[in-house]
């Protein structure tokens, strides 16, 4: 480990060997603070963990037992790189609920939709290529884009999602600058972290703009079936088979522990995705895929999603009521589905700078800067209401209110704009998913 030039050590004998992109992969203060969030004393409004306690765990245990007894030799064996055919058939049935008419051959099963994101980025992005994404955007996607040395250009949203006029002007200016835009990354349903949904009217407009500019659409849709009072809007993939890669997941509608997601892509793209996936992992877990298939065959999965929707609606109501009561000086949207509320803090408060104070007060959230590629977002934070009980949510927001008050006091003392310096995106951890 000695450095031959100086005689010292840098504690990592391979420092000179890493790829340039690995130098950004570093442990951070923020990640360290999240280690406290798992303690029961802390109300974590940070992670997007689904409420697994709402699942019929004993029934699932019986199903898993039967699976291994009856199909153990298949479940515990290697499988197909594209994914189990039976599961792919089931996936087409799930997607039909959002108007997608796909053949099982169009589907590539992945290890969570996070792997699908990585595969799409692998096959499309050269260093310096541009990905256009909503402002703000899912932290896990930004981490993948950063790892592949993409540049991300954000386009603002409003209450109806991505704003077509601003997408148009952004793509036009990027073209004028000679920048190569490879795809638009979008979470059109119950956005993470924004909580908004791309309106029915805007969906074809966005597709038309992208088509005209020769830009592929990467539609990431883990929350589409989790609307509280509304039926799902048609997926963008249902309106364009050639211009959209669709990503789906069982992590939010069933259980993330299985790590099963999927991609649906135009034929040629799909072939490359399969090859890229085989190069990365050979095949997705057969045990997990068959477990999901068994669940879809034998459980009332649509009834379970309905229960989840009701539970998440109660929690959404709890967090909105608590915000109204305890932090009325902040602003937020009222999500109609999904897991997240995107909160704009009172002027001058920096959410990243405030986080240690929140951890001291035993409440955790994700600072808004995590959702931008360029250090914006310090005036926002994301609250997740999916996991804690309504009572815990109320207590968490009450604690957060004391933190906001203390931070406002600090801002009053030292002046607005004296918070933490702008930072780049942190690499995602499951705490932030």
């Amino acid at each position: 480990m000695s450095n031959p030039d100086h005689g010292g050590t840098r504690l990592d004998p391979w420092l000179q060997s890493y790829a340039a992109r690995a130098h950004n992969m570093r442990a951070s203060e923020i990640r360290a603070l999240f280690s406290v969030a798992n303690r029961p004393e802390v109300v974590s409004l940070a992670g997007g963990m689904p409420y697994i306690g709402g699942l019929p765990l004993e029934d699932i245990a019986d199903m898993m037992h039967r699976l291994i007894i009856e199909r153990g030799e298949v479940a515990l064996q290697y499988g197909s790189g594209q994914g189990d055919e039976g599961l792919r058939e089931h996936i087409t049935e799930v997607m039909a609920l959002e108007g997608i008419n796909a053949h099982p051959d169009d589907v590539v099963v992945t290890t969570g939709s996070q792997q699908a994101l990585d595969l799409v980025t692998t096959i499309f992005i050269d260093p310096g290529d541009v990905v256009v994404a909503e402002a703000p955007s899912y932290v896990g996607a930004l981490g993948v884009f950063r790892a592949h040395e993409a540049d991300v250009v954000h386009v603002p949203m409003d209450a109806d999602g991505l704003i077509p006029e601003l997408l148009e002007s952004t793509l036009t200016s990027l073209a004028t600058e000679g920048r190569k835009v490879k795809f638009l990354y979008t979470v059109p349903h119950f956005h993470n972290p924004g909580g908004v949904t791309l309106s029915r009217e805007r969906r074809p407009q966005i597709l038309e703009i992208c088509q005209r500019h020769g830009v592929l659409v990467l539609e990431d849709n883990p929350y589409g079936l989790l609307g509280f009072d509304t039926e799902p809007l048609p997926a963008m993939r249902s309106m364009s088979e050639d211009g959209v890669i669709y990503l789906g997941s069982f992590s939010k509608t069933f259980a993330p522990g299985y790590r099963v997601g999927w991609a649906v892509a135009p034929h040629a793209v799909r072939e490359k995705l399969v090859l890229a996936s085989e190069a990365a992992i050979l095949c997705p877990s057969n045990a997990s895929q068959l477990a999901i298939s068994t669940y879809l065959e034998h459980a009332d999965w649509q009834g379970q999603i309905k229960k989840f929707r009701e539970q998440y609606r109660d929690r959404r109501d709890a967090i909105i009521e608590a915000l109204e009561e305890h932090i009325p000086q902040a602003q937020w949207n009222v999500p109609q589905g999904g897991f997240y509320v995107w909160v704009k803090l009172p002027e001058g408060i920096d959410s990243k700078s405030m986080l240690p104070r929140a951890v001291t007060a035993r409440v955790a959230y994700v600072p808004g800067t995590a959702f931008y590629f360029d250090g914006q977002g310090s005036d926002h934070l994301r609250l997740s209401y999916c996991y804690p009980t309504p009572e815990k949510i109320t207590e968490g927001v009450r604690r957060l209110a004391t933190v906001v008050d203390a931070e406002m006091e600090t801002v009053r003392i030292f002046g607005a704009g004296s918070g933490a310096a702008a930072s780049t995106v942190d690499f995602p951890s499951p705490d932030l998913a």
Binding site: N3, H6, G7, G8, T9, R10, L11, D12, L15, H23, R26, A27, S28, E29, R31, A32, L33, S35, V36, R39, E41, V42, D350, S353, M354, L355, P356, R357, V359, T360, R362, E407, E409, T410, V411, R412, I413, F414, G415, S418, G419, A420, A421
Partner: protein, 313 residues
């Protein structure tokens, strides 16, 4: 030997503590000892009562682990434990108090002032910061008066950076310590033993590209470590003597890490005192122990044995 490592806790340094605990656990387990790791939670006291003839090794960093609270609990329950006792821990944890004690013992420490957030509110932040700027030459270091792992610490080069540094600091605690940033060779000296039998391990020099902040401490790369430190013999001896004096004067037990900087005149100035030094793969105490020869496991065993013997005497 039965050893119960306490790691985790609820402080901002939980992550570092868990990593420290795992490293010590692995070393001692590989050497054949029966080692378990516990968090500080509702099960702690029953677990302590089941410990029998064993010893507790608190590896909690930050508040409640280093401020004397946990040590007071262990003394209350009456179990032998590694490290400094509760009263001495409380003094060492509060940086301004520790600095005052150290200075009285003749060891140099950077000129400093301690200011609570409430004072800025009452008197007006601009007035206070102007007074700081008038009194001290830049660069300055702003840090929480209690805490570790460089959390909340800023290096300030000019008056206009002070407000941001104060906000960053006050997010971690309500008392700020502002001290003159000494330019020189930064050295961490690990001390093992107690009282007259305490001895220093080889000092580890920290040559850091940029500030020695959280990023530099826990991501290999930005820091080059030299053990022994590249000091002439007079400076090296002065550093060792200063560390020993601090360890003994503050009444520290079993192990500590004293962070110093050797200024342009060769004078060691004490920056910080750690009664539960980090034991992670990038931490300074294990580096110093390895540089001293012998195995880490043997050193950790000797430290635990000393705690048991002390309890028996």
């Amino acid at each position: 030997m039965d050893i119960m490592i306490l790691a985790g806790g609820l402080s901002h340094e939980r992550d570092v503590s868990v990593r420290s605990g795992r490293r010590v656990l692995e070393e001692l387990k590989a050497a054949g000892h029966r080692v378990s790791m516990h968090d500080v939670d509702q099960n702690l006291i029953p677990s302590l009562r089941d410990l029998g003839d064993g010893v507790v090794w608190p590896l909690l960093h930050g508040a409640s682990g280093e401020d004397g609270s946990l040590q007071a609990l262990l003394e209350l329950v009456g179990v032998p434990f590694v490290g400094t006792g509760s009263k001495e821990a409380r003094v060492a944890w509060t940086k301004p108090v520790a600095k005052a004690v150290i200075a009285r013992a003749g060891v140099t420490t950077p000129d400093f002032v301690t200011l609570p957030q409430s004072l800025f509110r009452e008197v007006g932040a601009e007035h206070v910061l102007d007074a700081v700027a008038a009194r001290f030459d830049f660069p300055l270091v702003v840090k929480p008066a209690r805490g570790g792992s460089a959390l909340g610490v800023s290096l300030v080069d000019s008056r206009d950076q002070l407000s941001r540094a104060m906000v960053h600091c006050f997010a971690y605690g309500d008392m700020a310590l502002i001290e003159h940033a000494v330019v020189g060779t930064e050295v961490a000296v690990s001390v093992v033993g107690t009282g007259d039998s305490a001895r220093v391990l080889s000092g580890v020099e920290i040559a850091c590209e940029g500030p020695y902040d959280y990023d530099a401490r826990y991501n290999p790369g930005r820091v080059e470590y030299f053990s022994p430190a590249r000091l002439d013999s007079a400076a090296a001896a002065a550093v060792e003597q200063a560390a020993l004096t601090v360890h003994r004067t503050l009444g520290l037990r079993d192990l500590s890490r004293i962070d110093l900087i050797v200024d342009a005149d060769g004078v060691p100035q004490v920056l910080d005192v750690n009664i539960a030094p980090g034991m992670t793969e990038t931490s300074l105490f294990p580096q110093a122990a390895e540089a001293a020869g012998g195995s880490l496991a043997e050193m950790y065993r000797d430290i635990a044995t000393a705690a048991i013997e002390r309890a028996g005497s």
